[in-house]
Amino acid sequence: MVAIGPHDVPPSHRTPVELRHHADWFLLLLKIRARSTLSNKTVVSELDIPSSRTDTSFIPRLRTYVQHLGSYSIDFTLETGKMFIFLAQTLRAVPTPPWRWHNLLKQIHFIGMRSMFVIALTSIFAGMVLALQGFYTLSRFGSEALLGPAVALSMIRELGPVLSGLMITGRAGSAVAAELGIMRIREQIDALEVMGVPPIHFLAVPRFLAGLIVLPLLTVIFDVIGIFGGYLVAVQLLGLSAGTYFGGIESAVSMHDIHTGLIKAFCFGMIITWVCSFKGFFAKRGAEGVSHATTSAVVLASVLILVSDYFITAIML
């Protein structure tokens, strides 16, 4: 004897009572799915319903996808809102005394001075490869004399601020997120609040200001060393005259180009310290949470740098 359940009868042969019974099964399944954290397969096996039938059921799956989509949308909106509230609180705290000069200098030293080596190394090689590629391309058109302006404009307008921003994100931004994240999970940020010391004022503001001050300065250093790197390749290696290389730069680069680069650097400084401080500030769930906060801070800051670079360029052109 084979037991016949409600699923084994073709729909056309079912009586109204059987159809109601089938609907009851479906409603029960939906209720259990909504209430249970168990996987669909487990619930189904508990109810002794063939899993192949329910797994292919379209409506519950669609419902799950919609739920996930809604959940992600809500999380994204909440996170974005929290980030902008954090930025507003930081900006509001900037002009509020007491001014902690010592903390600010410490952060300038950490973000700026201690990033000098990586900035110098990156910039010299960026300038060198730019000169190498530029010479190869320009020589096809007999325009080697434009190599100096090409390197300088690329550095000043684009590569200087963007690469400095990305390097500082990797070196200092990750450290800021990790440091604040550890402070959060070790309850040191809570301790500040309990002592009546506003954590945003004490922790976020010095880092934020240091980012605004340091990034333009590092960008200038990046530009100068990058142009020098280009000079090494173009003049010392490829035989272009120093006068040709530097003379073109002076006539091609305007103050507007320099302003554009510095404005970008200023914005990137804000993005890095804002995003990394925020991610560290709201890290959760132990070491894994700090690791996640650090990774997401670096990724988000890097993406925002590249996205905002396009829009700033479009506006400043």
Binding site: E187, D190, A191, E193, V194, M195, G196, V197, P198
Partner: protein
């Protein structure tokens, strides 16, 4: 863990401002009248609470009393006070929670908590892990916002205050975190000095004096230039306690001050809390799993269970309670009404 001995009768000495500790020491025969008068002559303060504290230290420094006898006398005094202090209904609450509910990650952690913390008393909050004790403490200092209910601190609704007012109220409260929460980038001295430097106008000379005194009180003299990662767990706790006490707050909240410590350090921390209380009469709230030891160190006990206050009352009343949940928790039975998984 040493259990405080039974208190003997206190001899009152009319006309002499010996303070309760002086009387206790005389009554117990630890010192004689002449030694006490000699110590009193060396005191400059007339504040009874200060005398209570300083007289002991002076007697120790004069060689009339050993530190262990002083601790014993303080504990006896405190135990006697706790034993006689059964009428908590007359003590005004300095902190209170009414109908507080809090849901975290879909779980109801606080489910209508009503409690009152009496002023100038030590209150212990006990309960099984995950019962909402630390969350309660975080609500009392405004680190968490309740989903429902009110929290009153010194007669003010904590969540009706502006940010500036909340910060002002918080300056009267100190919280000793379970992990200490010392700042890793600062040494012990700077950690303890931190609240004074950030929230007061105290001069550096006075800060130095107060920090060194606080370090001495928690037996960390000579450790001021060590960083938190160079200290043991017990030292970290004591340094954090010194930081919590340095601003002379009106309320001190201690989240498991003895968790993870060996019995000697645990006892030392309890003595320190007792000593601080006897000296300053600060309202203290202690979360503890040190059962039954904690019953020797508090006036008032609140039992939290499943997000609600299961019982609240004087220490003897809770200790003798026949409520099966409280009995299981006190006796540490595996079998009983409390789910341990």
């Amino acid at each position: 863990m040493s259990t405080p001995s039974q208190p003997s009768t206190v001899i009152t000495a009319p006309g002499h401002n010996h303070g309760p500790l002086g009387q206790r020491l005389l009554a117990a025969g630890y010192i004689n009248e002449q030694q006490l008068n000699e110590a009193l002559a060396a005191q400059s303060t007339v504040d009874p609470n200060e005398i209570n504290h300083l007289i002991g230290r002076t007697l120790v420094s004069l060689g009339h009393l050993t530190p262990s006898l002083l601790r014993q006398a303080l504990v006896e005094l405190f135990t006697e006070e706790c034993r006689n202090d059964c009428g908590l209904s007359g003590v005004p609450p300095i902190l209170s929670m009414k109908g507080v509910e809090k849901q975290l990650d879909g779980r109801m952690v606080l489910n209508g908590v009503d409690l009152e913390i009496p002023e100038h008393r030590i209150t212990a909050i006990i309960g099984i892990s995950g019962g909402g004790k630390s969350v309660t403490l975080k609500h009392l200092v405004g680190l968490m916002r309740p989903d429902r209910g009110t929290i009153m601190v010194k007669g003010k609704n904590l969540y009706a205050l502006s940010v500036a007012e909340l910060q002002r109220v918080r300056r009267h409260i100190s919280l000793l975190f379970q992990g200490g929460a010392l700042f890793d980038s600062l040494n012990v001295f700077d950690n303890i000095a931190f609240p004074l430097r950030e929230t007061t106008q105290t001069s550096e000379a006075e800060i130095h004096q107060r920090v060194m005194r606080a370090l001495d009180e928690v037996n960390l003299a000579g450790m001021e230039y060590k960083f938190p990662d160079e200290l043991s767990g017990g030292m970290n706790k004591r340094a954090a306690l010194a930081r919590a006490l340095i601003t002379r707050p009106e309320i001190i909240l201690l989240d498991e001050p003895t968790a993870g410590l060996d019995p000697i350090i645990e006892n030392a921390i309890h003595h320190l809390i007792c000593d601080t209380f006897m000296r300053t009469r600060t309202t203290m709230v202690i979360i503890s799993h040190a059962i039954p030891a904690i019953f020797n160190w508090c006036h008032h006990v609140i039992v939290l269970h499943r997000g609600k206050v299961r019982a609240s009352g004087s220490t003897p009343a809770i200790r003798e309670s026949q409520d099966p949940v409280i009995r299981q928790f006190i006796d540490g039975d595996v079998d009983g009404p409390v789910d341990i998984l």
